[in-house]
């Protein structure tokens, strides 16, 4: 005859009509707003205190040089440090992005999302999920091609990690300085599709096969508009080096209006939109998530994957989302430059990451708002709309450059 644990809500039924009448009267609503404001301000202030990460990197390299080791060893050590950082970013991004996606989707849907693990808004949820995934049994279906099935997630994630090498995390803050950075990133990102096709084929499942084939067709197709939509940016910046593109956007028109490529009239916005759409399609997310379309193909190419193999696919997906977000920030949103001159005290890596996170939010926003296209419609959209118009956009950019406006 004990009353089980739990606070009994007697007074009010949770009707939206009551809750939304005056949200500021709800204590938890005020608390959440205060937390949000505090977190944003805290990040900005901490960033201002830390300063440029690139400078810290230089100091660390100088420290390594003073240890008296040979140059080759230093170079290798430095490489390991950078590799660790990039891998750390990808893994941490997996944890963060999943949690963020769950929270964002929940709040968009009038829910709260994870709330228990880690006490504060379920921040530890994805960490526990990772532990669960690590401990999970790794099932390989009897009908699967054992070797291919095991290899597929690796083939999918390796190019993702490679593609992060020239990514700018702040002004001058990149693991590798490549003059052909943009080309290199697109080249690497294109390889992942092999892993996905392998996964679909090796699973021995018809749904997976359909998903894998859809993924192949889709990713190969959307490579093109994705590449062509950045051409105007490359024309304006005059380089394939991400750092140069970043620098080209520094400074302000009239002293306050940032010279970001997205603000170049018409051509900038179109290029931004095309690149965004193509990136969403490249990362297989709604409205272009037909390879894994859960309502048709159960889970598409990762239906038959479990445990860590599955989470490698997941890491890949979120890794590419992060990659695309950083690319969007670097190409169009001014990279590490502040949107207004007086905000310069916040270092570039905060701006860069913040802009990337904003773009990631857009990815999530799309996902939780739009329905999904059909395979043939997706292809139509690509070949008959996106690609011709991105060509036209290149022409427009050419006119800009020719008239000396770039």
């Amino acid at each position: 005859m004990t009353q089980r644990a739990g606070k009994l809500l007697t007074a009010t039924r949770y009707w939206p009509t009551e809750l939304w009448a005056n949200p500021w009267s709800l204590p938890r609503y005020r608390a959440a707003a205060a937390w949000l404001g505090g977190i944003v301000a805290g990040i900005a202030l901490i960033g201002a205190g830390v300063g440029e990460l690139a400078a810290w990197g230089d100091r660390l390299l100088a420290l390594l040089g003073r240890l008296g080791l040979s140059a080759v060893v230093v170079a290798w050590l430095w490489l390991l440090v950078k590799l660790g950082c990039v891998l750390g970013v990808i893994v941490a991004n997996g944890l963060w992005a999943v949690w963020w996606e769950r929270k964002i989707s929940a709040h968009m849907q009038s829910r709260l999302g994870p709330m228990y693990a880690g006490a504060f808004h379920g921040w530890a949820q994805t960490i526990f999920d990772t532990i669960k995934l690590l401990l999970k049994e790794d099932v390989t279906p009897a009908a699967a091609d054992q070797v291919m099935h095991a290899l597929a997630p690796v083939v999918a994630i390796a190019p993702c990690v490679m593609a992060f090498a020239p990514i700018l995390f702040g002004s001058e803050l990149a693991a590798a300085k490549l003059d052909v950075g943009v080309l290199y990133i697109f080249a690497c990102a294109g390889i992942s599709v092999i892993g996905i096709v392998m996964a679909g084929w090796a699973s021995g499942n018809k749904y997976s096969l359909l998903g894998g084939l859809r993924a192949a067709a889709q990713m190969v197709s959307y490579e093109l508009p994705r590449g062509f939509s950045v051409v105007p940016v490359l024309m304006f910046a005059g380089s394939l080096d991400l750092a140069v593109i970043d620098r080209a956007q520094a400074g302000y028109w009239l002293g306050f209006f940032p010279r970001w490529f997205v603000f170049y009239p018409v051509v900038g916005q179109l290029a931004f939109l095309f690149f965004l759409i193509a990136s969403v399609a490249e990362t297989n997310r709604t409205p272009f998530d037909i390879p894994e379309a859960e309502s048709e193909l159960v889970a598409g190419f990762h239906t038959e994957f479990s445990g860590m193999k599955w989470s490698l696919f997941f890491l890949t997906e979120y890794g590419y989302v992060l990659l695309s977000s950083f690319l969007l920030a670097a190409f169009f949103l001014g990279g590490g430059s502040a949107p207004l001159p007086f905000l310069d005290f916040i270092p570039s890596w905060i701006w860069m990451t913040g802009k990337a996170m904003l773009m990631m939010f857009v990815f999530l926003w799309f996902r939780w708002t739009f329905p999904r296209l059909r395979v043939d419609q997706l292809m139509d959209f690509n070949w008959k709309f996106l690609l011709p118009w991105s060509f036209a956009n290149i022409g427009l950019a050419g006119a800009f450059v020719w008239r000396g406006l770039g």
């Binding site: 998530d289 739009f370 329905p371 999904r372």
Partner: protein
């Protein structure tokens, strides 16, 4: 994005038939455990690439034999079992059975009970169509409208809980009337809900109905012509989506539906979108009916006088049908003068509606299976009974 149908790209023309190409078909087993078959429906699909050449629905996984069970239950106990057919909208089930039994008994239902029956059935129609809207959104790939729809549906379920104590299987409409009365508090809550849902329906229109992606996915997909819809015996929004103006509420008014002013929304082409939009419009009409019914709610008794606790209707046969949320729900009831129905047959709208699937799926893409199946809005509890 153009949403114009292009005949040269019609899926029918994409089926590879040239024997020289040496292609093979693939059999895909969709369901009974598949996220989008809305229950335990199994579809055997024969695919040529991604195009369906043959579709065989396989049902019966949820067959509970309620028609047989009712032969050993009293009429009052049968009402409980009717709740379990279409569990997403149980009120019209109760109502159809009670109308048939009342015809046999010869009971005269008091006006307040009739008005309450109308209010509850229309609320249930909104709740059921909200489920449809949400799940159809998921079928097409939009997850968020699902939770919005359930948020609104929750309010209806709260109203039901306040009224009769149950949220899904109501056992509210009884022989000769209804089980519980509504008070001023309930009416106020209900009005609050009606005011709340109106702008929400417009939001659904933005999120789904007129979203270009949704439009290209559902317009010109799963076309059912007027003649075909009638020949296959479709009913409810599926029939009206094809442009056939047949609504039991208008054709054979029951419970005083003739007093209420409402329109029967009709589709034009019989596509998935037409069926979908018929339901959205029906919700608006339901809101109208409920407002009107609450405004002029007659007072008086809730239950007809002179119905025994265990009724024994005179031998005879009766047929009553109502416009349930998913179509024309008919009850054929035979009494042999005993305490239990001698025979009861349910003309389940979902069962009849589902049969058309085998015809309209041929030539569609795998992704369209879900769009078409979802637009038929079946509940397996009613298909299998």
């Amino acid at each position: 994005m153009n949403s114009e149908p292009r005949p040269e790209m019609a899926a029918e023309n994409l089926i590879v038939t040239n024997p020289a190409l040496q292609t093979d078909t693939m059999f895909v087993n969709m369901g009974p455990q598949h996220p989008s078959t809305h229950g335990v429906l199994r579809l055997g699909l024969t695919l040529s690439g991604e195009v369906i050449t043959k579709a065989v629905p396989d049902i019966g996984y949820l067959h509970r034999g309620t028609e047989k069970l009712m032969e050993t239950r009293t009429y009052n106990q049968c009402v409980v079992l009717t709740d379990r057919w279409d569990y997403c909208s149980a009120m019209p089930n109760n109502l159809a059975f009670c109308l048939a039994a009342e015809k046999l008994i010869g009971a005269k239902v008091p006006p307040r009970a009739e008005a309450l029956r109308v209010v509850m059935c229309e609320l249930n129609r909104i709740a059921s169509h909200l489920i449809f809207l949400g799940t159809y959104g998921i079928d097409i790939g939009a997850f968020t409208p699902f939770l919005y729809a359930f948020r609104e549906r929750e309010m209806i379920l709260d109203l039901y809980e306040m009224l009769c104590g149950a949220r899904l299987t109501y056992n509210y409409i009884r022989l000769g009337g209804v089980a519980a009365d509504i008070d001023a508090g309930w009416i106020a809550k209900c009005r609050e809900f009606l005011e709340f849902i109106k702008p929400r329906l417009d939001e659904y229109d933005t999120l789904l109905s007129f979203n270009p992606i949704f439009l290209v996915r559902t317009k010109a997909i799963g076309l059912i012509s007027k003649d075909s819809a009638v020949a296959w015996g479709l009913s409810g929004p599926n029939l009206r989506g094809s442009g056939v103006n047949y609504d039991v509420r208008k054709a054979e008014p029951y419970c005083g539906y003739e007093q209420y002013d409402f329109e029967v929304p009709l589709g034009r082409t019989g596509s998935c979108w037409d069926r979908y939009f018929c339901r959205v419009q029906e919700m608006r009409q339901s809101v109208r009916i409920i407002s009107a019914a609450l405004a002029k709610l007659p007072s008086g008794e809730l239950l007809a006088k002179g119905i025994a606790k265990i009724p024994k209707p005179p031998p005879g046969e009766a047929y009553a049908h109502v416009e349930a949320s998913r179509g024309d729900l008919g009850i054929y009831l035979v009494s042999d003068g005993g305490t239990a129905p001698y025979r009861l047959h349910v003309r389940a709208p979902c069962f009849v509606n589902l049969a058309v699937l085998q015809e309209i799926l041929v030539g569609k893409k795998v992704a369209d299976v879900i769009a078409v199946l979802g637009s038929l809005d079946i509940v397996l509890g009613e298909v299998d009974r």
